[in-house]
C-alpha cells in the first residue's frame, strides 16, 4: 500500500481494507472472511467514519451494534459472556452523532456510570504501590480497574458530555495514579515489591488520549517524552496506532509518521493480515496526524468551543 499520512490515499486505502471485513449485513468481522465481532464492528465504524465512509453503511453498522446491547446497556465480546463488557465504551464512541442510536448510547452511558470494578483499600504492606480504591473501569466484571478500559471509558463519557462527572474525574485521578514514576503506562501496575515496572507504548498512548483535555501537559510530560522516544521503533499496529493517537492528542507527531505507518502496513506480509481492531487503530492513528490536537475517536462536536489549550 502506498499510504501517505495526511493524503486522501490513506482514507481510500483504509476504507477499502476495512470494507473487506464488512459482512453483507453491515457488521464487521475480526479478519477478512471471519465472523462478526462486536469490538471489530465498533472499531470499524470509528475508522470508516474518519475515512469518510458511506453514511448508509455506517448507519447500518451502528444499528446492528444496537442489537448486541443487553437490557442494562452493556455490550460484551460475545452475548454468552456478559461479564466481558469492555466493548461498551467502544459502542458509545461508535454511536456518536447518530440520532437514531442516541437512546442506546444513553443506556450504555448509564451502564458505565453505574458500574465499577473490584476495589479495595490498600494495606500498608501491599506489594503493589497504586491506590487500589480509585475507581476506573475493568476489562471484565468484578475485576480491578485497568488503564485501557478506563481511558476508553473516559473518552466515551467525555464524548457524550459527561466529562465533568465525578466518575470521570475519579477515573482521571486513577489514570494519573497509575502513571509510572519515570513516565509511561503499562496495563496498570506501577511498582510491585518496590520495583518500577516497564512502560508499554499501547497503554501509554491510550492513557494520553484519555487524559487530553483533562490535565495539564506538565503532569504527563515524562510520558509524552517516553512515547516520543519509542515511536520510531514500533512495527505493529496496536502499539503504533495508540502511540500516534496519544501523541496527536497532545499535538505531537513523529517527523516520520508516514514512513512508520507504511512500514507497519507492509509488515502484514510478515504477520498476516491484521485483526480488524488493530488495523482500525493504525488508520485512526495515521489520520490523527493531520487533525491538530483532535483525535478521530471523538467527533468534532466534542472539541467545538474548547480553547486550544484544553487540547494540549
Amino acid at each position: 500500500m502506498e499510504a501517505r499520512v495526511g493524503s486522501s490515499s490513506l482514507r481510500t486505502l483504509g476504507s477499502a481494507a476495512l470494507l473487506r471485513r464488512a459482512l453483507p449485513s453491515g457488521e464487521f468481522s475480526g479478519r477478512p472472511g471471519g465472523q462478526f465481532q462486536v469490538d471489530s464492528t465498533a472499531w470499524g465504524i470509528l475508522a470508516l467514519t474518519a475515512c469518510g465512509g458511506s453514511a448508509e453503511l455506517l448507519d447500518q453498522s451502528r444499528h446492528l451494534l444496537m442489537r448486541e446491547q443487553l437490557p442494562d446497556g452493556r455490550l460484551c465480546v460475545k452475548k454468552p459472556h456478559p461479564a466481558s463488557y469492555w466493548p461498551t465504551s467502544l459502542a458509545i464512541l461508535a454511536w456518536q452523532d447518530s440520532q437514531s442510536c442516541s437512546e442506546a448510547q444513553q443506556r450504555s452511558v448509564r451502564f458505565l456510570l453505574n458500574t465499577t470494578g473490584f476495589h479495595f483499600p490498600r494495606q500498608s504492606d501491599a506489594p503493589s504501590a497504586h491506590d487500589s480504591l480509585l475507581k476506573g473501569w475493568p476489562w471484565v466484571d468484578e475485576t480491578h480497574s485497568w488503564v485501557e478500559p478506563t481511558a476508553m471509558s473516559v473518552m466515551a463519557l467525555r464524548a457524550t458530555g459527561h466529562g465533568r462527572h465525578d466518575r470521570v474525574q475519579e477515573a482521571v485521578r486513577m489514570l494519573l495514579d497509575r502513571q509510572l514514576p519515570h513516565g509511561g503506562w503499562n496495563y496498570g501496575n506501577t511498582l510491585v515489591f518496590g520495583k518500577e515496572l516497564h512502560p508499554m507504548p499501547e497503554n501509554t498512548g491510550a492513557a494520553l488520549a484519555g487524559l487530553s483535555g483533562s490535565v495539564d501537559r506538565d503532569v504527563v510530560l515524562p510520558s509524552l517524552q517516553y512515547l516520543h522516544s519509542e515511536v520510531a521503533r514500533l512495527q505493529t499496529p496496536i502499539s503504533l496506532g495508540w502511540s500516534l493517537l496519544g501523541l496527536a492528542a497532545w499535538q505531537m507527531a513523529p517527523p516520520n509518521a508516514a514512513t512508520l505507518v507504511e512500514r507497519c502496513l507492509a509488515n502484514q506480509k510478515r504477520y498476516g493480515e491484521y485483526e480488524t481492531s488493530a488495523l482500525c487503530l493504525l488508520v485512526l492513528g495515521a489520520l490523527a496526524m493531520e487533525m491538530g490536537g483532535q483525535i478521530p475517536l471523538l467527533s468534532a462536536s466534542v472539541y467545538k468551543g474548547l480553547p486550544l489549550a484544553l487540547t494540549q
Partner: protein
Amino acid sequence: METQTDSGTNGGLTRRNVLRAVAAGLVIGTGLLVVPKRYFRLPQQAKTFVAKVDAYQLDIAGVLTLGMMELGISRKELQGKRILLKPNLVETASGAPHINTHPLVLRGAIEAFLRLGAATVMVAEGPGHRRDTLAVYEESGLADVLTEDGITFHDLNYITGYELPNAGSQTTMKTLTFPGLFQEVDWIVSMAKMKTHHWTGATLSMKNLFGVMPGMYYGWPKNVLHKVGIQNSILDINATLKPHFAIVDGIIGMEGDGPIMGSPKQAGVLVMGRNFPAVDATCCRIMGIDPYKVSYLERADNWLGPIGERSIEQRGETIASVQTNFELIDMIPAQQGIRLA
C-alpha cells in the same frame, strides 16, 4: 485431543502417604479438623528427562528428539498429529531476553516434533501483560525465527472460545473458556521458562498455561484468574485442559523477582515430560526449591501428577548434577521458606 498418559497410579502406598494417612486418621479420630482429600490419594508415577544444554546455539532439536524418545514418545504416536507449542511470552524489555522462552528452543521443538512424524506444528500465545501480542512476538525475536521457518503464529487473546466445565473445581469458575483453535489440534505443548515468581514461588509448565486463556474473556493481565486465585486457577486450567507435553527452557532462566523483574540465571538445562506436576517438581529441585512448599504443586501432588522425588523416574541427567540455587527474595511472601533443605 488426547489426554496425558503418564499419570496413572501404581496401586501402592508410599511411606509419606502412609504417614499422612495415619496422621489424618488421628486428626479425624479426635474430630478436630477436616483433612483435605489429597492426603488420601494413591501415589502416581511419572518420568521426566533432564538435558544439559549450555547455550542456545547448540543442537536443541537433537536434545529434544532424544528426550522425547527416552520418554517413550514414538513416531507412531506422533504420526500425522497437529502440534501446538505454547511458549511463555509475557512482555519484552531491553536487555531482558530471559523473560520469555528463547526462540531457538521453539525452533528446536518444531524440528523435533516434525522429525518424529508430526503433520503440522504451530506456535500460539496470549500474553498476559501486553495488549499488542504482535509486538511481543516481534520484539522477543520469535517472529524472525518463525518467519524463516515458515511456521504460523496465533494470538490466543483474540480467538473466539469454547467452554468446558471446570474439572478442577478449585475456584468459583463453573466453566473455563479456551481458544477455539485448541479444538483443531491434537497436542498442546507448554514451553515454559524456568523462573521464580513473586506470586507463586515458581512459574513453570503449569503456570505457563495462564497464557492460553483469551484476554478478550479474562482481561489483561488475565484479571479473572487473579481475582479467583492464581494458585487455584493454575490447578483448574491444568485439570480441565489436560495438556500433553511440557518442555521447560532453563538454559537461561530467571531468579529473584520473577516473572519480569528478576535477573538472568544460567541453569543450562532443558526439562521435559508428559506429566506437568512431575516436570515442574523436577525443575523446582534443580532451582533449589522444595516443590512441596509451592502451594499449587503440593495440591496437585498425586492428583494431576506426582511431585515426590521417588515417584518420578529421572531420565537423562541427575538432578544433583545440574542443581543450582535460584535466588529467592525474603521480602516476597511466596518465596519465603521454599528453599529445598
